[in-house]
Symmetry: C2
Subunit: 552 residues, 2 copies
């Protein structure tokens, strides 16, 4: 679809430039023949045949790091014919991560939740190259990324190589967060990658086999059959539920003599499991777990993991040792070392993820974009720009704003600063005029004018509505799609900007900012009657709910 309309756009533009071309040509170009000619021209990289400019420069080099939700969604939506595209990722597949907990117990096979990147790439127009390697250094000064494949791939044996870029898209995700707890890396399983899920699967069976050995005391058996999940978020809860089903339904039949010694414990530092969801979901999950015999330890913080036991303290500082057979650690995400170094280099050392603007551009860098779990969109605050906003709105440079002047820029302000609209919504207001009323406490007449001080006062509390987007599969996928569409229309939007008015510059932004799109999504979800904002992991959450319905 995108394909056909792209050609149609091209043809329409050609038509505008050269208005004596008879209409019949357009019809021919849009019909099948044009498509065939186009797709055939791909094989010899002849995409320029369709685009009319003969003087077009060499394609820009676009490097994409990562093939998770963000990277894959970006690739899927990108028009491959516009750039010279190089993808670098340590995994040559995309994994549907919300189903990872199901892989741990064999409910779903690992091969069912992966999609080869080369299969995705093959469907693209143009040539997209893929390298199975890991980026270990980003050099924004020289516009290069340093990568390393498995050792021994080239004859000097280091496996290192360098890739140049014009545009860089960083979608490298995050790593599991251990909060520097001693022993976690050595003794715990994580549940972020397909290999993690497969390792957990083997480890569950190993625990059962170990408990089944002869000459073991009951204490030893119980130790081997103690499964611990640290972290009561969606991943941990989903895994606990899957494990419970597996242990009661299948293991009972296969290992009947150890069935009654199995125990699952969920350790959560907070006061509730699934605390990021609606209270009804939390309560349902906690009651369900209690009925099923899953032990939920709330308010316990793990301080150490040894090869035999995990040590935790409760809120009264009482220390407990829990001997275990297997531990899965899922307490959220942390920053990857390569991102950490990059952040230090570009002066973002004090943040937890790469800060980008609302167009996904890494702050302070040209042509470097970051999305997904490795990035956070830094929403500009109204108060930081209040004078500039005032000046833009004050077209006649009178030093005061009329309601008319405000209404003229209102659309742009709401687009650029979505917190304004959220604030209005949270107060049940219909427009900025209501906001002015609110600040003043009485109804404002159309002809009254606002000084900059009054304007500041009116917008004073708006920034309280600035939200950070949750690090979820859904946000990452939407960011990838958004950015791909920007890249697809880069040229067009440079000529005809679509975004809001520039507050600290002239003219308009090229694209509408991303935050606008998320807001729409949240609205959509609210329709279903549950307040799911902020959405921690919508895919996982849906899965947890489905799972619990199945369990009950």
């Amino acid at each position: 679809m995108r394909f056909a309309s792209f050609i149609f756009d091209g043809v329409s533009q050609a038509l505008k430039r050269n208005s004596m071309v008879p209409k019949v040509v357009v019809l021919v170009a849009v019909s099948g023949g044009g498509l065939i000619a186009y797709s055939e021209s791909q094989s010899d990289h002849g995409a320029s045949i369709v685009r009319s400019s003969e003087t077009e420069p060499k394609k820009k080099k676009l490097v994409v790091l990562g093939t998770g939700w963000a990277g894959t969604s970006f690739l899927k939506n990108l028009d491959g014919s516009l750039y010279d595209i190089q993808v670098v990722s340590p995994r040559n597949y995309f994994a549907f991560t919300p189903l990872l907990p199901s892989v741990t117990c064999g409910t779903v096979e690992a091969r069912s939740i992966v999609e080869p990147i080369r299969k995705i790439i093959k469907k693209k127009n143009g040539e997209v190259r893929f390298c199975e390697a890991e980026c270990f250094k980003i050099d924004p000064v020289n516009k290069k990324v340093h990568c390393q494949a498995n050792a021994g791939s080239n004859l000097n044996g280091t496996g290192e190589f360098v890739v140049d870029y014009d545009y860089l898209v960083i979608a490298m995700g995050a790593k599991a967060n251990t909060f520097n707890t001693p022993g976690v890396v050595e003794h715990c399983h994580f549940l972020k990658e397909v290999e993690d899920a497969q390792r957990i699967r083997r480890s569950v069976i190993d625990s059962l086999e170990k408990a089944n050995l002869p000459n073991l005391s009951e204490e030893e058996k119980r130790k081997n059959l103690q499964f611990v999940i640290v972290g009561g978020g969606p991943t941990g809860v989903e895994f606990a539920a899957e494990l419970h089903d597996f242990l009661t339904e299948d293991v009972g039949k296969i290992y009947p003599n150890i069935r009654d010694l199995v125990r699952i414990t969920v350790v959560e530092a907070g006061g509730h499991i699934l605390s990021m969801f609606d209270k009804r979901i939390t309560a349902f999950a906690e009651q369900k777990f209690q009925r099923e015999g899953i032990d939920v330890k709330l308010g316990y913080k793990v301080t150490k993991v040894s090869d035999k036991a995990i040590t935790m303290v409760d809120r009264a500082n009482t220390v407990t040792d829990l001997p275990y057979g297997m531990v899965v650690w899922s307490t959220g995400i942390g920053t990857r070392p390569v991102i950490r170094s990059f952040m230090e280099e570009i002066g973002q050392a004090d943040r937890r993820a790469l800060a980008t603007d609302e167009w996904m551009r890494v702050q302070g860098l040209e042509n470097v974009y970051a999305l997904g779990d490795c990035a956070t969109i830094y929403q500009r605050k109204v108060m930081e720009d209040i004078s500039a906003i005032f000046n833009v709105a004050d077209k006649d440079n009178s030093g005061t704003l009329t309601v008319k002047e405000i209404q003229d820029v209102l659309g742009d302000i709401c687009e650029r600063y979505p917190q304004v609209q959220l604030y209005l919504k949270s107060r049940d207001m219909r427009g900025l005029v209501d906001l002015l009323n609110d600040a003043e406490g009485n109804e404002r007449k159309e002809n009254r004018e606002l000084s900059i001080e009054e304007f500041k006062k009116a917008l004073a509390h708006v920034d309280s509505q600035v939200k950070f987007l949750p690090a979820t599969a859904q946000v990452a996928a939407q960011q990838g799609e958004y950015l791909a569409k920007c890249f697809n229309r880069m040229k067009k939007c440079e000529e005809k900007p679509e975004g809001p008015l520039r507050i600290r510059g002239t003219g308009r932004h090229r694209f509408r900012p991303f935050s606008k799109i998320i807001e729409k999504m949240e609205g959509g979800l609210l329709i279903h009657g549950l307040d799911l904002s902020p959405i921690p992991n919508i895919n996982n959450m849906a899965h947890v709910v489905v799972h619990m319905i199945q369990m009950s």
Copy 2:
């Protein structure tokens, strides 16, 4: 079926002992009701309800080591109610090894070729226990086996335990034979276990991904895409054929730019690949490989494997270095360390596998049996027993044998020494009388008598027909079935021996020897017009042939 007939046997015996029971009881017992009662009685280990003896002693402890072809076949055929059975194996599944080469390229999924041992055990009468552990020491003096599970399974953390036995069945298989070639263990893949096949699968893809990295010279790419198979036996050839199909059919589409650099080389020290098969199969395979572009290096011996290249010498002692991306080593089997130590302890240090008699008993030990790849049946030679045979045949102690006397023991001799029959067959003779003619050179009259010297002369060349059975899945499976049937009828056959006359003892052997059964099998295979004896790996062979037909 076996189940029903077992009950029927029991009922028949009861009937014989108690002849006034009316016939109608038999009918009821054989119908469904009897079966249900029987199977229900399993849950409380009440198998003795069916067997009539109330004074039966405690069940003998039977320990089975290994769950490969031999061990699993033994378990499947064993009547679990007769013994207190403990199975110890490092793998809790049985793997259909002839399909391993197909797992390496994803033609078959690993899960499709494995069967959980617990599933097999569950179908048995009586209770069979399984431990996932590896036996590391067999102590025949104290009748114990020392085993080790993964570390940390008990609280002292060693994972060691000891199991007592009354009967021990050793079916631990063999390990890959490296001929002590340096670097093989470090740098080569083997293809004996499911994990090996999975590792090879990942390694093949890794090689392709490595060759696909940017900035590699063509030499580096060729190195990464050089797949080497050492050993031109059925496993190596089958793997080479699978890999070839995968690389030409699938890889060409996914990695089009490196397709033409891929090279498969089979290195074989002998003069031909598949040399253990009929010459027509060898010739077909060699021609096929040549047509397909698989490089077969005959007469090359690998002397060293480094991380970059394998070093080999041809028959003219020319040394060649071949840089590789991946090597699979499949040059046959060697003795496992635990079997090697055991053999040294029982005075078999000079052998390559555990020597057993024709009833699978380890030579020199009571109640220890060995089968499959870890064992070899040592067929007694006629010449070693010739005086004893003469004495057994010479019933009237006249010091000479009549033709009649020879004919009386002929059946037993042929059963005990199958080489006699093979020798007769190889010379197109119909019976022992012909053999006597042959020795003397002229026709023998019925009434002439043979001295011991003449008897020796007649049988002088018979032992040239002694054959060792090939180390194959089929032989192992048949040995397992044979031994299980012996164990099932142990009691019955002690009372009523079924075997041939004891030559160096009195009475009869309890069971017919195993070699008799193999001879029948070979006869069956000869019917198909191909001389497949000695059969190296009949399952693999069939698969190779099928594969080649598919390829052509």
